[in-house]
Amino acid sequence: MIDVTLESVSKRFSRAGDTAAVDDVDITIAAGEFFTLLGPSGCGKTTTLRMVAGFYFPTSGRIRFGDQDVTRRPPNKRDTGMVFQNYALFPHMSVAQNVAYGLKIRKVGRAESKRRVEEALSQVHLAGYGERRIDQLSGGQQQRVALARALVIRPRTLLLDEPLSNLDAKLREETRVEIRRIQREAGTTSLYVTHDQAEAMAMSDRIAVMESGRVRQIGAPQEIYHRPATSFVARFIGRSNVLSLPVLGAGPETVTVRLPDSSQVGVAAPADHGLATGGTALVSIRPEHIGLTSATEPGVVTGRVTELEFTGMSTNLLVDVAGEAVQVAAVDPPAGIAVGDQLGLRLPRERMWLVRP
């Protein structure tokens, strides 16, 4: 059952002419689905969320909850729980009062309300902070209050605008498990904005990738990760190498391209790839799918290490292959590897994927 629908929704802030903050967006979210908006800073995520919440009216297009048109319904009649990007906590209320606000409006009894507030606070690891004034909390603590305030009312739709951005990895992970649990239990439809792709991947049923106000791709996390539609999506979701390779032959499902080491490889391609022999194909491959080897064999290109970065779980290398910078993430790089070393990179055929520009 479809729960939230955005139908060619656009939003412009200044009068005519200027670019739209949100540009002709079509999204449908099923009931109970956990849907994530992902995209670079300033791409229109918050604006979209605010239109769903009812704080902005679309310049054009409509928004539907179920089969009701809510485009111009006032925010308090929408039953959405929103975590604002800037928290929007009530400075004149204590932590507990902030969280209890929505319950009071819903006329939840005092005892029940107290219980639920306490539960919500402990869900965000703030048990015992109820009596504090908001300005006596750290940034991350404030963010958690904002989250608790939205969760506690068990709204029909949850709108979460980067609700975990100021939390440490550990807490973020715990909290997102908590959010998912609450959301699943109540079957709440959720629209989630995050800048953290790992989070988006881990939590979402589906993801929409936005760029400059437009939706570039909608799909399940794995789909978006493994089959990005455009080079933007490929580069934005995780890290990706998008290589421009000459097309040697173009079939309906496979396009043959020439690798920098002159070997040929057939790459899986969407049906409408529109490429022809002699053109240039954009081929995406993820850094972690590139193997390091010292052997020279077909499908292995060689390059020189130009940068090295240790990130904990893996080591990121930037390898210069015939002038193109290729990123490689190696979990177990050869010991003693250093900038300037020559390396062989194995580019597995089955990990390559053709993308649109």
């Binding site: 060619s8 656009s10 412009r12 200044s14 009068r15 005519a16 739209a20 540009d23 002709d24 079509d26 919440a53 009812g54 704080f55 902005y56 009216f57 310049t59 054009s60 111009r72 006032p74 925010p75 308090n76 009649k77 929408r78 039953d79 959405t80 729980g81 929103m82 604002f84 800037n86 928290y87 929007a88 906590l89 400075p91 004149h92 606000y101 409006i105 300005d135 006596q136 909390l137 940034g139 404030q142 963010q143 939205a150 009312i153 437009r214 939706v215 791709q217 909608i218 799909g219 794995q222 789909e223 493994h226 539609a229 499902e253 899986a268 391609a269 969407p270 049906a271 409408d272 089955e350």
Partner: protein
């Protein structure tokens, strides 16, 4: 690892549509954005504003037009051109009034903001007391207040004569007279406009913004100049408007210090002359000047945003290492206390001295309780006080309800005629009280549409109504200034949690506006208790306010009993200040000030 299908399913790739749908016109979009209602509630702003607009139109704007019509009626062209001919009284009155008003704004601004800084940023012994007496100057009864200034600072005043004694000079030292005297009185009686709004704004400001400026290397002065004062703009604009208009319409001070070429004096003189059209011309010019100033200020304020964009709520805590500041603050406020209380003390001196006994001495030679005995031996002694209290209270309540709503509408809602509404509210403040009162009498001496067919003159209600119309601008302005600081996202959050507009407004927006609203309400109340010029034209024997009572005593030159009544009024207002200080702002403010000095 999952296998990779040849094509992503087409459904997941959004259709690329051509041109984006064109927008439906900027004006309408902005209007609808702000407005947060359902399909039929796009009229919401109008619904909210319409009754207010009607009231204002009926009671202020329309009579104002009548005034204007009168001014152009007979020899309108001649009346108005007299303002442009270089030698006329009209022109020099206008210039004098403008100079006095501009200088008053400047002086009140300096004093008021300095006091706000002192009291809101430092904690020192006696701070609470000063907070309580800070409004006393505004509370001085008009006639007595001015006389106490004369007794203090004029050629025959305590200070010049005292200094004359001390230095043994032939002439009194440092007497104030003319425009200087007017400015002293204006500064003294009007700085509370600045003090109250600046204090409310300082309390509502995001402290981290100030910290950011310090962090970037700005010194204290620079932070004030480039961050704090600009951030206080809405408050300062509000206070400037009030002071400017009050000064323009000020009557007693120029009168007492013999500056008679002012607009208000000319209005009075022309009315005495029986030249009503010319008087109306002056009143209209006064109105036009005020409106122009208002529009200028609106434009100036509207250029920027003053609400914090910070994430979350910043800690209201700052630690000052320098104990010197504390002692300086203490010294400065001791001085302030003396200056503030001097006129009150003078009134007390008069109240406790026998009439006619204090002539050429520096301070009276003999004291008596007789004046108070005289007052209290009248069985109805308290009636005027109770009347004033009751009527000002009613008017203040009305001002708060309506003023806050209009402030909200003008700041937050986008509808046609916002600026007009703003001007309409302020007009009542820009016009001399006499003109407003006469307008009201005309409007309510017979029933008309705006008075819902009611005849109000001769009834109790005309007085609170007059106070309401006259003092609405005070509450409106200072509420509007605090509202400028409040992030609309807070209201949005409340709405999002299910609160209706009213509820969100009441539990969040209004609550955060409260310092400004209280400041405005205090001003309205205090001015209501002291109001004379309009009251004298509309009071009845049942509603005689304290100011009329004082005036009667002054008229028969019973200065002693007049001063005794004045003392009662001052005490009354002092009590109100203390109570309201405890009510809300006081406690929080002192907590905050304490935190600033830690």
């Amino acid at each position: 690892m999952s296998t990779i299908p040849a094509t992503p399913s087409p459904a997941t790739i959004p259709p690329v549509t051509g041109s984006p749908a064109s927008s439906g016109g900027g004006r309408r979009r902005r209007f609808t954005d702000r407005f947060t209602g359902g399909t039929n509630s796009r009229w919401f702003p109008y619904l909210l504003v319409l009754p207010l607009a009607l009231i204002l139109f009926g009671y202020v704007v329309q009579p104002m037009f009548a005034t204007f019509a009168e001014s152009v009626g007979v020899d309108g062209v001649a009346n108005y051109t007299s303002f442009f001919t270089s030698s006329g009284v009209a022109r020099s009155s206008l210039v004098t009034s403008l100079i006095i008003s501009a200088a008053s704004v400047l002086l009140c601004g300096i004093v008021g903001v300095a006091m706000a800084f002192l009291l809101k940023r430092f904690s020192f012994p006696g701070r609470r007391l000063i907070e309580a007496i800070i409004l006393v100057p505004a509370a001085l009864p008009p006639l007595i207040g001015a006389i106490s200034f004369q007794l203090l600072y004029s050629e025959t005043g305590i200070l010049p004569r005292g200094l004359q004694h001390v230095f043994g000079t032939a002439e009194p030292v440092l007497p104030f007279s003319g425009i200087a005297g007017v400015l002293v009185v204006h500064t003294f009686t009007m700085y509370p406009f600045f003090y109250l709004s600046a204090a409310a704004a300082l309390a509502g400001m995001d402290p981290s913004v100030e910290e950011a400026a310090y962090n970037l290397g700005a010194g204290r002065v620079r932070v004030w100049r480039t961050v704090l004062l600009p951030m206080l703009t809405p408050a300062l604009v509000s206070a400037s408007l009030l002071v400017f208009m009050t000064s323009l319409a000020s009557y007693t001070a120029p009168l007492l210090f013999g500056v008679d070429q002012t607009m208000t004096m000319q209005i009075y003189i022309n009315r005495t002359n029986g030249d009503l059209p010319m008087a109306s011309t002056y009143a209209s010019v006064l109105g036009v000047v005020s409106v122009l100033f208002l529009l200028g200020m609106r434009w100036y304020e509207g250029r920027r945003s003053y609400r914090s964009q910070s994430k979350g709520v910043a800690a209201h805590r700052r630690e000052i290492s320098n104990p010197l500041g504390r002692w300086l603050a203490l010294g400065a406020s001791l001085l302030a206390t003396v200056v503030l209380l001097a006129p009150v003390a003078t009134i007390a001196l008069v109240a406790f001295s026998a009439d006619g006994s204090w002539t050429t001495e520096v301070v009276p030679a003999a004291y008596t309780m007789q004046n108070f005995v005289t007052i209290f031996s009248d069985p109805n002694a308290f009636q005027p006080i109770l009347n004033s209290l009751q009527m000002s209270l009613l008017a203040t309540i009305g001002c708060v309800v309506i003023g806050v709503l209009i402030a909200y509408a003008v700041r937050r809602l986008d509808f046609r005629g916002r600026g007009v509404l703003d001007v309409a509210v302020m007009l009542a403040w820009a016009l001399p009280g006499t003109v407003v009162a006469i307008n009201l009498i005309s409007a309510f001496s017979t029933g008309n549409a705006f008075s819902f067919g009611q005849v109000l003159i001769g009834t109790f209600w005309i007085m609170p109504l007059a106070y309401f119309v006259r003092f609405l601008p005070l509450v409106f302005r200072s509420s509007s200034a605090t509202l400028a600081q409040i992030d609309p996202a807070l209201e949005e959050a409340a709405r999002n949690l299910g609160a209706s507009w009213w509820r969100a407004f009441g539990s969040v927006t209004l609550r955060l506006m409260l310092p400004g609203v209280i400041a405005g309400a205090l001003l309205a109340f205090v001015h209501g208790v002291g109001e004379f010029v309009a009251s004298v034209l509309i009071y009845t024997s049942q509603t005689a306010p304290i100011s009329v009572e004082i005036n009667n005593r002054m008229y028969s030159f019973e200065v002693g009993t007049a001063a005794a009544y004045g003392m009662l009024q001052v005490i009354l207002i002092f009590v109100v200040m203390v109570v309201s200080g405890r009510l809300e702002t006081g406690r929080r403010a002192s907590r905050e000030a304490a935190q600033w000095t830690a």
